[in-house]
Symmetry: C2
Subunit: 423 residues, 2 copies
Amino acid sequence: MDDPAFIIARLGRQARAAAHTLAGTPPARIDAALEAMAGTLLATQNEILAANAKDVAAAKSAGQTAALVDRLTLDSMRLAACCASLRKIASLPYPVGQVLREWTQPNGLKFAKVRVPLGVIGFIYESRPNVTVDAAGLCLKSGNAVILRGGSEALHSNIAIEAALRRGLTSAGLPSEAVQLVPIPDRDTVRLLGEAVGLIDLLIPRGGRGLIETVVKTARVPVIKHYDGVCALYVDQAADLIMAGKIAVNAKCARPGVCNAIETLLIHRDVADKFLREAGRMLTDRGVQLRAEPRALAVLKKAGLPATPAKDGDFCTEFLDLILAVKVVDDCTAAITHITTNGSHHTDTIVTGDTTTAEKFLAGVDSAVVLWNASTRFNDGHEFGFGAEIGISTDKLHARGPMGLEELTSYKYVVRGSGQIRG
Amino acid sequence: MDDPAFIIARLGRQARAAAHTLAGTPPARIDAALEAMAGTLLATQNEILAANAKDVAAAKSAGQTAALVDRLTLDSMRLAACCASLRKIASLPYPVGQVLREWTQPNGLKFAKVRVPLGVIGFIYESRPNVTVDAAGLCLKSGNAVILRGGSEALHSNIAIEAALRRGLTSAGLPSEAVQLVPIPDRDTVRLLGEAVGLIDLLIPRGGRGLIETVVKTARVPVIKHYDGVCALYVDQAADLIMAGKIAVNAKCARPGVCNAIETLLIHRDVADKFLREAGRMLTDRGVQLRAEPRALAVLKKAGLPATPAKDGDFCTEFLDLILAVKVVDDCTAAITHITTNGSHHTDTIVTGDTTTAEKFLAGVDSAVVLWNASTRFNDGHEFGFGAEIGISTDKLHARGPMGLEELTSYKYVVRGSGQIRG
C-alpha cells in the first residue's frame, strides 16, 4: 500500500513498539548499535553514493540552487564524517536513567525525578542526507524511536542510508523499526505526522518558514519549532571597537544563510562615527549591503560608505544573505527595547567593556541565547559542548536554544515507600 | 466593548506589558506583593463573601451538583486558607534567576543556563474561587503574568477576588495587569485564549475531559494538559497484604472523584484468593462496586462478595466514583503490560516486598508518577513538597506530573566571552 495515511499509521505503530523495547534496553547495547550503524554505513558506501548521485543529478536537472545541491551531495569524506558523528554520539553520556533530583519527605516517602525517553520522535528536515544519520543517532542514544521525513530531493540517498542504519540496529539485536524513513515523497505525509496523536510524542520540523508554519497550523501532536533568527549585535559606548568589528564581520559574513547570523547592527550614538567608519568598511568590503536608519545612514554617507535607507520591516527581517540593517541607538536600554520589539528571541549579543551594562543586557534581552563579547554564531549545539544537536528551538517550552540529547527526553517521578497512605 | 475577541486581545496586550515589567522585578518586591495581596483579600472579605453568596445561590437554583456547590462556596475560613496559601508561596524559593547549569568551553566562553519566566500564562479552570488565588500567587511568584478564565458559576466571586488581588499588586508597586480575570462568562473566550499566539506563552486548561479536548483541538498556543487518571494498584505475589489492603482502600475511597484515585486493581494470581477475601470485603463495606474479569469474579463470588462482570472498556475508564475494575494477572510483567495498554500514564503503584519485582515495575511502567508501597493519592504538588501546584500534567513535554513553580518557567542561555568569534 502506497497510501500516505496507511504508511504513516504503520510507521507509527512500529515505532511505538520499538520505543517500548528501547526503553528497557541497557545503555551498552545502544552504544553498540551506534557503532554497528557506523560500520554498516561504511560497508554500504557504494550503494549510498550511487543513490546519492541519482538524487544530485535530479536536483541539478530540476534547476535546484547550488546551496541545495551542495547540502544534498555526499562523498566518501562526508560519509566518513557521518560515521564519526555516530561514534561521537556513542561516546556521550547516556541521558536516560539519570536521576535529576532526589529527596525524602517527612513521611518517609523517597522521591526521585528520573530522565526517561520521550518515546517516538517525528523529524521533518531539509534535503541533507547527513542529517538523517545524525538524527537517527541522537534519537537512538536518547532511547527514542524516530520517524524521519527528509526533503524529497534526498529520498534515494535516505532510503539507502536508512537500510544501512537498520542493518546496524538488527546486527546489534535492537528492533530495526527504531529508525524508520517515510519512504515516499508525498507532501501529505508532513500533515499526517502532525496528526498522529498517540503514535508520535514530539514532532520537530526543520526547514523554511513556510514548511514550519504549515506544520504548526495543522499539527495535533506536540511540536518544537526551529524558526529562523532575527539576531542583533549591539555595540555599546564602552565597547572595544576592534573586538566589536571582528564580531560583526564573523556574525554577518561567516555564513550569512544560517539562523545565528546577525541581521541587525545597533550602535551606541557616542561610538557610531568611529565604529561605523571602520566596521562599515570591513563589512562593505566583504559585499555586505547596509540598510541604515537616518542617523546611521548619515554617518555612513559621511564616511563615504555605500548604504541605502532601511525600509519598513528591514529590522524584523531575516535576510539570510549579505544584508545588514543598521541603527544608531541612544543607550543600552534603547537597544534592549529595539531587540524586544523587533527581534525573534533567537540570539543577541552585546559588545561592551562595562560589566553593569553587559549584565543589564543579558538580563533584559529575553532570547534563547544572549551573549556578551562573543559572536552570535556560537548558538550551536556543538559550540555549547552538547556533542550534537537536532535543532535550535525558538520555543520557550521544554527546550529552548540548541537541542541535544537531554532535550529529547522527558522525566518521570519514582516514589519508594513503606506502606504510606494519604491522610 | 464586551466583544470576547476584543477583551481577550486587550487582556493579552496588557498581560504582555506586565510580564515585561515582572521580568525585571527584584524577588523581594514579588514576595511583598504576595503579602499585600493576602492583606487586601482579608480586607475585602465582606465584598468577596457577598459576591460568592450570589454565585452560590445561582448555582443552587440552577440545580448544580452538591459537589460543585461545595467547591464554589467560600467562607471566612476558606478565605483565610487562601491568604495562608499566598504567604506560603511567598516563603518558597524564588525560581527565576536560578542558574541551572554553568560550564566553560575550551575557547573560554562561559555558559550559564538560567531560569526565566515563561511570560504570560493562560489558565482555564473549574468554578473554584480559591484556585483563582492560588493560580495568581503561583504565576506571580514565577515571574509570569496570568490571565484567569474560571468557571462561569464563580464569576462574581472571581471578579471580587481579582479586584482585591490587583489592589494588592498596585499597593506593592507592581502592575495590576499581572493578574487579570476574563470578566465575561462567554464560552468563546476559551477558544480565543487558545488562539492568542504571541500574547499567551502557555495555556493550562483544567476541568472535565470535554473542555480540555475542546481546548486541545483548537489551541494554537502551547498547551499543557491536565487529563484524568486511569490509575492502577498492582498487588504482587510478594506483597504485604495488610499494607496492600490499606493502600487499596486509601487510593480508592479517600476521594474517589479525584484524578489520583485508583480505578483498577490488579492482583497476582498466587495471592488473589487471600487478598480479595479481605480487601474485597473492606472495599465493598465502604460502598465500592467491584467490576471483575472472570478469574477475579470467581474468587469474589467464592468469598461471597458482591461483584459484577467487568464490561468492555471498564479497564480504561476513569469512574471518578466508588467503582473499581478488578483483574487477576499472572505476574508483574502481565501487570505492566495491562497498565501500558489500558492505563493513562498518570499514576500507578505496586505493593511488594520483593525489590527486584518493584524495580522492574518502577522501570517498566511509563507513567508520570510510579510508586512502590505507597498510595497513588501522593501524586500531588503539596505531597511532593512543591509548596503549591497549578495542576498535574499528563503530557510528556516540559512538565510531567505535579506542576509547581519551576514548571511555570523556561530558561535561557547566557554566554560571557572576551571577543570570541567562530572559526
